[in-house]
Symmetry: C2
Subunit: 610 residues, 2 copies
């Protein structure tokens, strides 16, 4: 077990090795942008799928919709630019909403973000697999399995701790940027030389007319292009000083690249009238159109898969971190705040991997099926963060507070509007799941916190008398199944603890007590033996009844302590050959009567059978 | 939980209610014959399927093969008639082989019988479902599910205890006998009136020629008609006195009925040239031919299903009984010998149900696929029982020992021959599984017994000095995760047990020990606190290392006792909100160092959070 663990996850790391790495702008861009940049993979696809049902007439709205989303991108980039300067310590939506709007909104933002992170991992991986399966159609039927395999690899890498590979991960990001920007340049050149083409109307029978709902619906799905833009505002402390300035500049650069990639690819798709086949993404079809079917095409698909895998990987930093903050605040199980032996939040990583895997399985590895769930959470978090910033400026009233508040207010309004559009237009397709999940999660957070508070109150030392006396030595009850070496060892141990011991024999087979009584006479060290009949042949029931009866008889407020002699066989399968009576007794006692917090103590005396 | 259990299984029964019911011959025949009588359901089918591949020429061998099997039936009936008189206390194959041939052969017979019982349940149910699905072809695709449903019902009924329904179960058996004998009478009448028909050669293109192997192969499969004939010899004590005489007469009657049903049905099938359709059994086809498609046909199929279900039910008496005998002899886990609270061997019943269900699933609910496994075990058990009887007569040399030995010898030879034919001709079709399983099971029996013997030796009081002294009071180590009410309660309990206590704090977060040390100063009742650093953030590892280090330092042959304060939250899901450190410590200690049988004692002091 242990060596297998070391092979995959490496040996434990001491706490002293925990140190924050400061990133320069080049590496920071690579660390924070993959999610934002790679979202063209699914956003383009969603716009295409949303409009193609209306045929060529519908697809002509691709670029206008992309432009509207581009406008939203400008507003969001400027808004988060302000957040970065206001929260140099890291201004995630949870922090901003909690500080400015109160705990309730903070928790809603946190719930939205957690959902968002799980979906980022699931969507990025399925989209990456779709990219590579477009290049190799043989893989198309195995998309779920491939996505799960990638998920497993990324989970293992994160459990091992990928901190040291930060520089390594910059390579595919820049490779992606370079190859896609080059493709767009090729596309621009060919556009000038060849001139526009229109969608072949014949090949695209419109199933529905172009309607306002269709356009809003497509806009909502296309807004997934904006996911990941908030990443830098969470991670300001990771930048080299001057942190806010460097982070802000990186954000603006990232937004510019996002816009270029998104508008460029959608624009060229429409300009050349590109249409996708049945087992191909629209981005792959565009690459085919611009680059042909040679190695440049395969290169570009590989670059997309890589950057999507790294985008999924960013969830493995964000989800465990947010979960650990919530756990530290008492809203999630405490185990999520513990650093594992590789100095990562192992429990959070495992939880994320499990949830993302579940989503991939439930939705059959299909990006398009996951998208309606995706955008809702993201835009809710955006809205709460922006609204929080408005309150922030109104409270602070620092220099230039009015224009700042107005800008964030514009951000809040546009993202709230988008949230509403997404929620309504995608409701039946899956957004309802998130709409249902959000309040349940918040209730869960509050329930967890309430439990921890109750525990805190139950455990407080306040109110305890200043000088406590030891409890009197316990009455010990020793159940014996027969007289043998294990029982005798347990008896010797018990005699070292207390002089008040009773041995109890539960007589399952009528008449069997006589022999036990005789042997006990010889070996029992003078300890009295009580025989309890068991007409229904259960050992546990009569024993517990006996304990409770004698507790009542003694009436000293103390409960008798149970001493259980336990065999430990040499091999695990030998456990099958023994009645697990000790385990059953322990289980049955778990929720039996107890007095004011105190329960019945159990002493295990193991006896090893070699 | 408990009320659900009472609803399905009834309330517990006291041991006093355990009494043997004595059966008169009418009810004894109903109790012991279902397996034997109902085997025509699959034996006929196997003969048909074995010969139909050779077309009409092959099917003409049906009756001759049935006659050969009938001859075997006569030999076996007379052989077991002798066993009944020699073993009035019940002469199952295990008993007879063990007493006369030695333990090894006894265990082989036991293994063969256990396999046989599981297969009887599985084969009877799948054959019963095939009978009813022949009548209602709509059910044909759901045979696996239906068989599992029946299995579940029978398992539940047996867990509840079906003793009281003995008379009730006689009804379907006599219903089956009456309806099938009536059908054969109708058939005989029509045979006289209509004269013979031959198989329509045109409809049966022979895929293979008739060969000696084909005939032996078919004979082997048809021998499943003989399964169940040994049932009465196991159950002699259940008869009214004079037991052996009554049991013997019942056996002869049963054999006569078996022969009549088997030879009659095979004979009529051949006489009328009956052929089965693709989703129909041959017995159903015969019933169609003789009775038409009205209610008599449906009646006869229902009777077959019922008697097959009751045949499966006999395994639920035989398997748990044999398993309990083996368990009492130390060859199977002891739990199999315990009467559950309904006075039945619940564990054996559950085991049988699970194994039969597994077989049904693995073989897709197909009787024909299960048959090759079935006959091997049965004939091995027959052979060992008969061979044991030969040795029995040779040893006893009572009056008329020679003819008796010769008769059982003839039985042993014919069954051994059949075993050989079945094993070879059906080897690749599945008999190999049983041939492989038999030695594995016997090795398992011996391994279990060796383990129990080792346990017995480890636990014996022989060699212990006659006057043992109590162990010295233990050094108690109390791990504290912080200073709170639960820990203080545990400390008070510990102080009542011993004056030698050390509290240990494992410092996972550097610097956190200071606060704990200060609070301990105030509340620790003068007990020393040791701080153990944990650079790799594990609690369990450093704690166990500390325990082993101090054990070595004290060097008194005693191991420190661990006292674990344990929270018990009010609801089960609250367990998720607490680190299960106590559980992890317990698990890690399970196979840690120990000295001469004795291990480290653990004291659990629960603290209830309400």
């Amino acid at each position: 077990m242990r060596s297998l663990r070391e092979l995959f996850l490496g040996s434990p790391l001491p706490t002293g090795r925990l140190a924050m790495e400061r990133l320069d702008k080049v590496r920071a861009l690579a660390a924070f942008s993959p999610d934002a940049l790679s979202s063209i993979a699914y956003a383009n696809q969603e716009i295409y799928l949303g409009l193609v049902v209306a045929g060529a007439a519908g697809l002509r709205y691709s670029f206008p919709i992309a432009l509207a989303i581009g406008g939203l991108l400008v507003v969001l980039a400027l808004s988060y630019f302000q957040t970065i300067h206001a929260y140099p310590g890291g201004g995630g939506s949870y922090t901003v909403a909690r500080e400015n709007l109160g705990v309730g909104f903070g928790l809603v933002a946190a719930a939205a973000l957690l959902i968002d992170y799980v979906l980022t991992a699931a969507v990025s991986l399925t989209a990456g697999v779709a990219a590579i399966a477009s290049a190799f159609p043989l893989l198309w039927p195995y998309r779920t399995g491939l996505a799960l395999l990638l998920l497993l690899l990324i989970t293992l890498a994160n459990l091992r701790g990928v901190r040291e590979t930060g520089t390594l991960m910059a390579v595919p990001v820049y490779f992606f940027l370079a190859s896609y920007l080059a493709m767009l340049a090729v596309g621009a050149g060919r556009a000038l030389l060849e001139g526009p083409a229109s969608f072949a109307s014949a090949a695209l029978p419109p199933a529905r007319p172009v309607s306002a709902f269709l356009l809003l619906h497509t806009f909502a799905a296309g807004c997934t292009a904006l996911t990941g833009i908030e990443a830098i505002s969470n991670g300001v402390p990771a930048f080299r000083p001057p942190q806010s300035k460097n982070a802000g500049l990186t954000l603006l650069l990232m937004a510019f690249l996002m816009g270029t990639l998104f508008l460029g690819s959608v624009g060229l798709t429409q300009y050349f009238g590109v249409v996708a086949g049945p087992e191909e993404t629209i981005l792959s079809a565009l690459a085919h159109r611009l680059l042909g079917s040679g190695w440049p095409y395969f290169l570009i698909q590989a670059a997309l898969l890589l950057v999507l895998a790294i985008a999924a990987n960013t969830s493995y930093a964000d989800f465990p971190r947010l979960a650990s903050i919530l756990a530290r605040d008492g809203y999630l199980p405490r185990q999520l705040s513990q650093l594992g032996d590789r100095l990562v939040f192992s429990n959070g990583i495992l939880l994320l991997g499990g949830l993302a895997g579940l989503l991939i399985i439930l939705f059959g590895g299909d990006t398009h099926a996951l998208i309606p769930l995706f955008a809702v959470g993201v835009f809710l978090a955006f809205t709460l963060s922006q609204a929080g910033m408005v309150v922030h400026w109104l409270r602070q009233r620092g220099p230039g507070w009015l224009p700042k508040a107005l800008l964030n207010g514009l951000g809040a309004l546009t993202t709230a509007g988008t949230f509403f559009i997404v929620g309504v237009s995608k409701f039946l397709e899956g957004a309802w799941i998130v709409v249902l999940l959000l309040p349940l999660l918040v209730l869960g957070f509050l329930g967890v916190r309430r439990h921890y508070q109750q525990v805190g109150r139950a455990l407080t030392l306040r109110g305890l008398p200043p000088s406590l006396r030891p409890l009197p030595g316990p009455r010990i009850v020793l159940p014996v199944a027969g007289v043998h070496r294990g029982v005798i060892e347990a008896l010797r141990f018990a005699r070292g603890l207390s002089s008040n011991i009773t041995a109890v024999y539960v007589e399952v087979e009528p008449g069997s007590a006589e022999k036990v009584r005789q042997e006990w006479e010889e070996w029992g060290m003078g300890v009295p033996l009580v025989v309890v009949p068991s007409p229904y042949r259960s050992v546990v029931g009569p024993l517990l009844d006996y304990l409770e009866r004698t507790d009542r008889e003694h009436n000293d407020g103390q409960m008798a302590t149970l001493l259980l002699p336990e065999f430990i066989p040499g091999r695990w399968w030998h456990f099958l050959l023994h009645n697990q009576t000790a385990m059953l007794i322990r289980l049955a006692l778990l929720y039996r009567r107890h007095r004011r917090g105190r329960g019945r103590a159990i002493i295990d005396v193991p006896f090893y059978l070699e």
